[in-house]
Symmetry: C2
Subunit: 233 residues, 2 copies
DNA sequence: ATCATTATTATGTATATACATATTATGTCA
DNA sequence: TGACATAATATGTATATACATAATAATGAT
């Protein structure tokens, strides 16, 4: 290890991660405080602090003022998924992206949609259904409801060259979102659209986005059962 | 906003997040550099830098040396899931946790397991199957294969009071992991164990953990189709 | 014009210092 | 002993400064 490397917070973080992984620092155990570590690594306390904070954010350390820093006993490791827009996701995997608009109309939504968005039941919403394909094979069926009060300009968009997904990303801000993942069975319609058997398994992602006090959209994105969501820790 | 609040990197981060969300800073647009922002917010450049770095990690900003900082055009927002051990997950939801050991023996694993772990096909592995219950209802079926070379001491563990999951967490270090989520259909055995119908949908989490050059364990965790994995952005 | 070299610039990191804050440990009084 | 105020301590954050690094822009030679 060079002198420079030894002093960088990356290197210090890696070294501390090693000590945790190899049980040099035992689970639940108190580790030396920042000042001591700074002396050991020959760097400033701020440098050690940064490394420690990043490890704590990753869930392998638990820090408390005055009490000190401990190795997490039950590591609630956080898994981070990058959620790109679907076109990018397909292209990243080397697929050729295509998009097909299935329907696009203003209508009343099902009860469940109003409930999930916390909207008055009376209002009409924009309902856009589209299919995203990878190498001409169905990849994701997108069933979206948009609150017209939040994004009035979307009403007259045709979506012939851009998917509602990308339109919203570039035209509508949002500050908060909730994402739900679960498994389900394809109903007759979904099976036909995704070209899978009825009652085959499907991977469903639901997403709610909203500004404070203003729900924007509810999307249900349905993947064939062969879909895999992968992450590394 | 108080003077103190205005100078904290939290407040600065929040204010900048607001500008991004409300399109004060347009998608794809260049934002002022750190020095300018530091003057605007009346703080040191390091403080602005911290706020900007956190937003960049969140995916809403893209930073490049010399080129400056832009609002992400296609926000690859990262979703962060905290993955606690299953007992904690159940207890956090207010359920009463129980655990049932289904089987525990040393045997040859299926081809697929050796492949996933990159292990020599000849070796015997520890195979532990267990069921995690929430309020006496099946919550997760855990089907685990452990590389005995990596964790020899597990061979004689009985798992009568602790689940293999928790045993490994407290006894075996790991440095890397791969997690895969997908949907599937319950086969006859899984259906019986989880108390769902055969060919009902199930939510499957697969997890590989390993130390550098040393695979440790492969687990397949199967939830009933009603399972939901939720996160907020 | 093309390519390689050099300068410029914005971000990235390290440091010493100072003070804030949360939490624990200690001490005092009743 | 118990309640409560007080001290001690580890982490959290802000700052000025300095230099490193990556990427672009400008320059010059061919």
């Amino acid at each position: 290890m060079t002198a420079a490397a030894r002093k960088s917070f990356h290197a210090i973080k890696a070294e501390m991660a090693r000590r945790i992984a190899e049980r040099v620092w035992a689970p639940g155990g108190l580790i030396p405080n920042e000042e001591v570590l700074a002396i050991e690594f020959g760097c400033a306390r701020a440098t050690v602090n940064r490394a420690l904070q990043e490890l704590a954010r990753g869930g392998v350390l638990v820090r408390k003022r005055k009490a000190g820093t401990r190795v997490a006993l039950h590591p609630m490791r956080e898994a981070r998924f990058v959620i790109p827009i679907v076109r990018q996701e397909i292209e990243n995997k080397g697929g050729i992206y295509q998009f097909r608009l299935l329907s696009n109309q203003v209508e009343r939504a099902p009860q469940t949609v109003y409930e999930r968005l916390g909207l008055a039941k009376s209002k009409e919403m924009l309902h856009v259904r589209s299919l995203h394909l990878s190498d001409s094979k169905p990849y994701q069926y997108e069933d979206r409801w948009v609150n017209l009060d939040a994004v009035p300009s979307i009403r007259h968009e045709t979506f012939d060259s851009i998917s509602p997904n990308e339109w919203l990303v570039t035209h509508s801000p949002f500050s908060q979102a909730e994402i739900v993942f679960h498994a389900g069975l394809a109903d007759r319609e979904e099976a036909a659209i995704l070209d899978v058997g009825e009652k085959d398994s499907v991977f469903i992602i639901e997403r709610l986005t909203y500004l404070p006090q203003k729900p924007i959209t509810y999307v249900r994105m349905i993947h064939p059962g062969s879909h895999r969501m992968v992450t590394q820790l």
